[in-house]
C-alpha cells in the first residue's frame, strides 16, 4: 500500500517494475463504478417512487396500443450481453496465458456481441408502440434502458481502444491496467442490465 519512487503516473508500472499490487487504473475504475451505480440508483429511485404511487403497473395507456415490452426477445438479448461478459473474461484469461491472438479474438467477439445487443435494443425502440413522452411508464422505460444503452456504448468504446492497444503489442500478464479497467466496466454494464431486465421487464 505504499508508493514506489516511480509512481506518479497511472500506468507507471507499465515499464515492468513487477510490483504486485492493484493497478491504480483498476482501483480508480472500481471506485468510479461506485459512482456509476449511484447514477443508476438515482434513476431507479424515481422509477420506484413512481411505480409505488401507481395504482396499476404498467398503467393504462390512453394511446392506440398498450404498454407492452418484449420480454422474450430482450431475454435473448440479455443472454447475449451476459455471454459477452464471459468472452471478455476469456480474453483476459488468454492474455494471462501469454496468448495475444486469443486476447484479440476475445475482444473482437465481445465487441461484436455488445454491438449486437445495442442493435437489437435500437430495433426494439423502433417497434415499441409508445414513446418517452407517453406517461411515466414510457419515460422511465426509455430513460433507464437509454441510460444503460449509453453505458454499453461507452463500454464498447473502451473495449475498442483496448483492442487497438492490444494490437500494438501492449498489455501483458499483470500489466494490463486499461484493459482490466475496461473489462471491469463491461462486467458492471452487464450486471446493471440483468437487474434492469428483471425490474423493468419481468417484475
Amino acid at each position: 500500500m505504499t508508493t514506489h519512487a516511480h509512481d506518479t503516473k497511472p500506468v507507471a508500472a507499465h515499464g515492468g517494475s513487477g510490483v504486485s499490487r492493484m493497478n491504480i487504473g483498476t482501483l480508480g475504475m472500481t471506485i468510479f463504478i461506485g459512482s456509476e451505480i449511484m447514477l443508476f440508483a438515482s434513476f431507479f429511485t424515481a422509477y420506484f417512487i413512481a411505480r409505488s404511487n401507481a395504482v396499476q403497473w404498467p398503467p393504462i395507456f390512453e394511446g392506440a396500443e398498450t404498454f407492452e415490452v418484449p420480454k422474450l426477445i430482450t431475454g435473448v438479448n440479455t443472454a447475449i450481453l451476459v455471454f459477452s461478459s464471459f468472452t471478455v473474461w476469456w480474453a483476459e484469461k488468454r492474455l494471462s496465458a501469454g496468448d495475444r491472438k486469443g486476447l484479440i479474438r476475445g475482444l473482437i467477439v465481445t465487441i461484436m456481441l455488445g454491438a449486437t445487443f445495442l442493435i437489437i435494443q435500437i430495433n426494439e425502440y423502433a417497434h415499441l408502440g409508445f414513446t418517452p413522452q407517453d406517461q411515466m411508464f414510457g419515460t422511465a422505460f426509455y430513460c433507464l434502458t437509454g441510460l444503460h444503452g449509453a453505458h454499453v456504448f461507452v463500454g464498447l468504446n473502451a473495449l475498442f481502444y483496448s483492442l487497438n492497444r492490444a494490437k500494438r503489442g501492449e498489455f501483458s500478464h499483470g500489466n494490463a491496467g486499461p484493459l482490466t479497467a475496461a473489462s471491469i466496466y463491461w462486467h458492471f454494464v452487464d450486471v446493471v442490465w440483468v437487474f434492469l431486465y428483471v425490474v423493468v421487464y419481468l417484475v
Partner: protein
Amino acid sequence: MATHQPTTGQPIPHGAGGGHEHHADHRSIKHWWIRASWGIAIGVVFGLILPFFLRWVFGLDPLWNEQVYVTTTSIFSVIGFLIGIGCFDWWGRWMFGKHVDYEDHSFHGASSWRDYFRVNTDHKVIGVQYLVIVFSFMIISGLLAELVRTELAQPGSQITSGEGYNTLFSGHAALMIFLVIIPSFAGLANYILPIMIGAKDMAFPKLNALSVWMLPPAGLMILSGIILGGYSSGWTAYTPLATQAGTGTTLFEVGVQFAGASSIMTAVNFLVTIITMRAPGMTVWRMPLLVWANATTSALVVFGTPFIAGSQFMTLFDRVMGTHFFDWTAGGDVVSYQHIFWFYSHPAVYIMMLPGFGIISEVLATFSRKPIFGYRAVAFSTVAIAVLGFGVWAHHMFVSGMSPWLRIPMMVTTVIIAIPTGVKVFSWVATLWRGKLHLNTPMLWALGFLFTFVIGGLSGVFLGTLPADIFSSDTYYIVAHIHYVLFGGSVFTVFAGVYYWFPKMTGRMFNEKLGKWHFWLTFFGFNATFMPMHWLGLQGMPRRVSDYDPRFANLNLIISLASILMVAGTAVFFYNAITSWRSGPKAPWNPWRGRTLEWLVSSPPTIFNFDATPQVVGGPYQYGIAGARHAIVFAPEEVGGGELNETSHPTILVVAKDTITGKSLLDATRELGTHGHWRFTFVSPAESDAEKVALTRRHALATAVLGAADIPASGKIVTGELVQAIARAAQDEHAHEIMIATYPLGESQWLRQDLVDRVRKATGLPVSHVTVSHKEARATLDEPGLGHVMVVAQDAVGGETLLDEIRRRADRSPARFTLVLPAEVPSPAWGDDANVLRGNAVERVHHAVEELQRSGVAVQGEVVDGGIVAGTRETVGVYRPDEILVVASSSQDLTALRGLARGASVDQVVLDAGAAG
C-alpha cells in the same frame, strides 16, 4: 510566481531522483487558446446541426426548439473547448493506437505565469488554477449577493423585478456552492494533499487537469444562465418551477453536470492517491487529519454526486424531451425530485464542510503547539458524519408533503449527527486548552470558525427538530443558518487554509497586518449581517421574496449596510494576496513550524516535490513532545541521500577564478539554489597575496548576489597544487558535488590541464562544468544584492590613490562601480584638441578599469564631455547609481551634483595632494 523550475538544461542531474526526464512542451499558450476557440466554434456548430438533422430525419415538428438547441450547443461547446485546450491530446493518441509515452511529463510544472494558463499536469499548478478560478467566481457571486442586499435594503422594489431578484439569489447560491466552496477545497487539497502523504503527484495527473478545466465552462454556463434570465428556481432547482422556468435553467442544469463530473473525477483521483501513493511509514493512523477529511469527502462525492447528476438529467429531460419524471398528471412524482436532489445535497453539506474540518485540525494544532486532542476520535467522527450524512436527507423536506412516516426517523438521524460534530468541536477546544496560542491570521480564521460554526451548528439542531423546522421553514432563519455554516463554516476554513498555505504555495509571506484586517472586517461584517436574520426569520420574514413587510425595514437596512463590511474585507484580502504574491518577503520552508510533510520541503516545493521518497516515522501532530518527528525528507542519492532540511543544505563546491562573477555561473548556481537545497562554497586557487585579495573581493560579490536570492554561500582561497587543494577543500566542506567554471575550450588554462576529469578522479564526486566567456567575466554585474557606486573624477583618474580609495569602498560593502571621467573638452568639441584630450582620458580610464578588475573590483568606465556637472547629469540618468563618489571639487559643484543625484547619496573624496598623475 515562477515557481516550479523545469530541471532541463541544468549542469547537474538535479531532481532526477525518480528517473523523471523533464522536457517541457514548448507550444505557446496562444496555440492552445486558438485551438480552444476553434473547439468551441466547432462544438457550437455541431450542437446546432446535430439536433436539426435528427429532428429532420425523424420528422419532428417544429424543427426549432430553443431548449433542445441550447442543451446541445452548450454541451458540445464545452467538449470542443476541452478538446481544443488539449485535455484529451494524450488520451486521443492512446485511443487511436498511436504511440504514447507513459512517462510523458511535458505538461508538468510551470516556469512562468503562462504555464498556469494552459493544461498542466502538475498538482501544484492545478491547485493554484483551482484557487484562481474559485476566487474569480467568488468575486462575481459576492457581487450578486450585494445586489440581493441592495434590493432588500428597503421594502418595495429597488433595482429589479421579482423574477430578476429570484435570478440574483439563485445565481449567487449556485455559483457559491458549485464554483466556490466545493472546488476551493479541491484546490487546496490538490496542492497540499499529495505533499502531505509524501507523493510526487496525484495518481491521475491528466484526469486532474481535465477536472480543473471543466470548471470555468461550468461556471460560465451557470453565469450565462443568470444573464440570459429564467434561472429563477433557486440553487435547489425544484420542480415543477425548474421544468417550467426559462432558458437559464437549462444552462444551469448542463453547467451543474460539468461541475459534478469535475468533482467526481477529482474525488476518484484523491481516493486512489490516498490509497496507493502514501510514503513508506504513512500508515492510516499517521495521516494528517486533512488527508482523512479529504478521503472521506471524496467517498461522499463518489457516492453522492451522481444523485444530483441524476436529478438534473431528469429535470433536463422533462424540460427538453417532454418526459414525465416529475409530472404528477402523467404518473410521475414531483416530490421524488426533492428526495433525489437532497440525497446528494445533504451529503453535499458535508462535502462542503469536512475538508474544512481537516484544515481547522491542521491549523489549530500548529498554532496551539499541541497535539490534536483525540486524533482518532476526530478521524472516526469524520467518517461517522459521512456515513450518517446519507441518512438524513429528508429533513430538508419536512413541509414538502412527503410521506409523514419519514419525518421522525429523519429527525432522529439528523440530531444524531450533532454527536460526531460535537466530538470534533470538543476535540478542537481541548486542543486549544493550555496550548501556547499564536494568534496569526490562519489561527484567527480558525478561531472565528469555531465561534460561528457552533452558532450555525446549533441553529442546525433547531432546524433538524420537526416542530421548530415547520415553524421556521422558508424564513430568514434558514438563510441565517445556511450562511453560518457555509460562510462562517466553510468559507472561514477556506481562508484559514489559504493563509496557512499561502507561503508554501507562493514562496512569499503575506502581510500579517492586512490579513488581520481582512479577518476582523469579515468577522464583524459577517455576524452583523447574518445574526439579525435569525430574528427576522423567527418574526416570519419569508426568504426568496424581493419585497417584505415594512416592519422588517430597519433590520434589513442594517443587514445591507453590514454586508458592505464583508466586501471591504474581501477587497483587503485580494489586495494582500496579489501584492504579497508579487513582492512579499520570501517565505522560509516552515514559517509556522508545522510538522506535516509539506513543511519539510521548500516553499514552493520543487517540481516533483521530493527528490527521494520520504520516510514517515511518527504521528503528524506531536508538538511539544521532545524528539518526536513525523517524517524525514532525503536529498537525492547522487548528492549523498542524507536528510534534507532548510538549515542543512548540502554543499556544492564551485571552483572558479576570474570567472566567479560571470553571469552563466551565477545563473547556474542561482537556479540550483532556488530549489532550496544547496549552499555554495566558492573555491579559488591563489598564487600571490595580491591575487588572494582580488579573489576575496570576487567571492564577496558572488556571495552578495546569491545572498540576495536567499542562497547561502561563502568563499575559500586555497593554495598549492590545484587538484589536491580542491580535494582537500571538498573534504573540509563535506561537499556533495563540484562545479568547475572555466573560460571556453581553447582559452582555458584549466581545460588544457584536463582539470575536470582529474578532479572527478581525485574526489570521486560528481563534477559539472560551466563555461564563462571572457566578455561575461568582465561585464558589469548588474545583479540584485549589489550597490552601484558611480565614481566621478577628472585628473585623479589614473593615480594609485584613487584606485586605493575605490578598493577601500569595495571592501566596505559589496558593490559594482562605474568610473566616469567628465572631460572638460575645449571648444570646438569636434576639434583636434578635443579629440586628443578625449583620447588621453579614455586611455587613463581604460588603465584604471584594468587595474581595478585585476584586483577583483567589478567596474566599468566611461568618458563623457562637459565637465563635472554636465557630465554627471548625463551619466546619472543612464546608470542610476545608489551612491556617487566625487573627487575633490568645489563646494559649488558639490551642491549642483547633490541636486541632480536622483536620490543617490553624494560623497566627496579628498585625495592627498599631488595625487593626480
